[in-house]
Amino acid sequence: MNLFGCCILKLKHFKIFEMNILVYIDLQNGRPRKSSAELLTYAQKLAGEGSVTALILGQSSEDVSGLGVFGAQRILQVSTQELTHFDGLVFGHIISEAAQFTGSQVVLMSFDHSGKAVAPVVAAKLSAGLVAGATGLPQGMQFPVKAFSGKALANVNVLTEKIVVALTPNSIQAEKNGTSVAVESWTPSEIPTSKIKVLSVNKNTTDIPLPEAEKVVSGGRGLKGPENWGLIEDLARELGAATACSRPVSDIGWRPHHEHVGQTGITIRPNLYIAAGISGAIQHLAGVNSSKTIVVINTDAEAPFFKAADYGVVGDAFEVLPKLTQAIKKFKADQA
């Protein structure tokens, strides 16, 4: 009887669960990344009755009060020159102080280049449990993650009072659930000096980075040579997609390293992944098998990739890709 009562109390307690959450918003070319809306939507759902604060480090090139629309109740910005260059140690230090300042139990960031560098620092400073690469909302204190390069799912049970969660891009549909709020400028007590001297920055693209892209068109050795990549790029442009490739393609130098997806390359989970001339080796699948919809174009009906695909076209990429690009053009014209 007693035990039973205790359980009910616990359940009730769970219902009125509330957590204050600090969301680190990363700027790309002075603008919040696309993942910001996903992070804030996630935070709002996780917070329950608790509060959601967005933290921006560095100077932004546009008005950021719109972050409130996705659930930020408060927006703090530290806009000093010193934060022009990203340094995980420096940024992590400030984020940790902001977490204390806002009384946040959870610190949330994107599981991307900068998130992977700040999350460990914040976790170390706050003695927080670190969930690297959450793929959805938790059940109790158990957060879903991928393991074994996407070949398996797991849950991470967090035992600490404070939690750092790095959320995999494209894990949640962004929702507009609030209104814009004023941006408060905030000054941390200390901004450590970076020990990393940045000599130069070379951006090779202003496009959406591959891990954040919602659509990806990818080519493999079946495309025969770099001169044929126009076929991939035309389709990608029509779709507003990023481009990717299999490992041998980047090894031979047909495409740059940063486009290589798979177990030893980048892991992506776009809404749509179109693969042309890629056989679908297990190491390639490991990087793309979480994509929501997979389309495979291959001359060989026995190519292993078809087993992992939603839609398959058995045919020559040199003919199919232009036809698909045309069909998308037509579809867009009809929609307009």
Binding site: D112, A123, A147, V156, N157, A286, Y311, V314
Partner: protein, 247 residues
């Protein structure tokens, strides 16, 4: 030049993953183990190249793992590392791995530490960052180039859609990615020499547990693939729009 390289054990990339019936650990039957690819191919090889170019120094590898991992350590020694340290604990999560390595490093004098980009089993890509945070050293993730001249390290790192050239003085932690070096296949001499290279085993320190991995499972199987006629791309677009909601 005194370099530490963090080496993890990983299931071979072709492994079909299975779990025990409780779903709390990997079913190791039939799994063959390798040195985690980015640790071996990029981090370790670049460390060896720098030592060779300097004509002096030492490359030490460190693994948090049990005696079962000695065969993996020997593989890395066969590639050319001088000696190994094994912290005798089955690795359960990135925080614990980094705490153990940081505790070891505090009593040593390494010039810098290299990790791989990520392990292919936990895929956290956070051990390097955690290690740097515990040591209060700068952390440079995803380096594609590394040179050290008179105590100044210059690096090129992937920042997603571009690269950044940076310089660091004093000790640092960096994670190695593609481009940093080319894989080296160990030769017979290396394999023989590895048998007698020292592996120092140290006992782990105790830290509070922060997280635990529970309920491993396999992702749901895909339904059958719909085959679309190569001459009917309008049909594919229609399905992507109305059925898959991907357009």
């Amino acid at each position: 030049m005194n370099i530490l390289v963090c080496i993890a054990k990983a299931p071979d990339t072709t492994t079909k993953i299975k779990f025990n019936s409780e779903g709390n650990s990997l079913d190791g039957n039939g799994v063959s183990w390798i040195v985690n690819p980015s640790d071996e191919w990029y981090a370790l090889v670049r460390a060896l190249e720098l030592k060779e170019a300097a004509g002096q120094g030492k490359v030490t590898i460190v693994t948090v793992g049990t005696a079962e991992d000695d065969s993996i350590i020997r593989k890395a020694l066969a590639v050319g590392a001088d000696e190994a340290v094994r912290i005798n604990l089955s690795p359960s999560n990135a925080t614990s791995v980094a705490q153990q390595i940081a505790a070891w490093v505090k009593g040593q004098s390494y010039d810098f530490i290299l990790t791989g980009k990520e392990t292919i089993d936990f895929n956290g890509s956070v051990v390097g960052g955690l290690l740097a945070a515990y040591l209060d050293w700068p952390y440079i993730p995803l380096i594609e180039k590394l040179n050290v001249v008179q105590g100044t390290a210059s690096m090129s790192r992937d920042i997603g859609g571009g690269t950044e050239e940076v310089e660091v003085q004093g000790p640092f932690v960096a994670s190695a990615t593609k481009g940093l070096a080319e894989q080296r296949i160990p030769n017979m001499r290396g394999i023989m020499a590895a048998r007698t290279k020292p592996i120092t085993v140290i006992e782990p320190q105790s830290f509070p547990v922060t997280i635990e991995y529970v309920n491993f499972s396999l992702p749901p199987e895909k339904g059958a693939c719909k085959i679309i006629d190569a001459d009917n791309m309008d049909e594919l677009v229609r399905l992507l729009h109305s059925e898959a909601k991907a357009l």
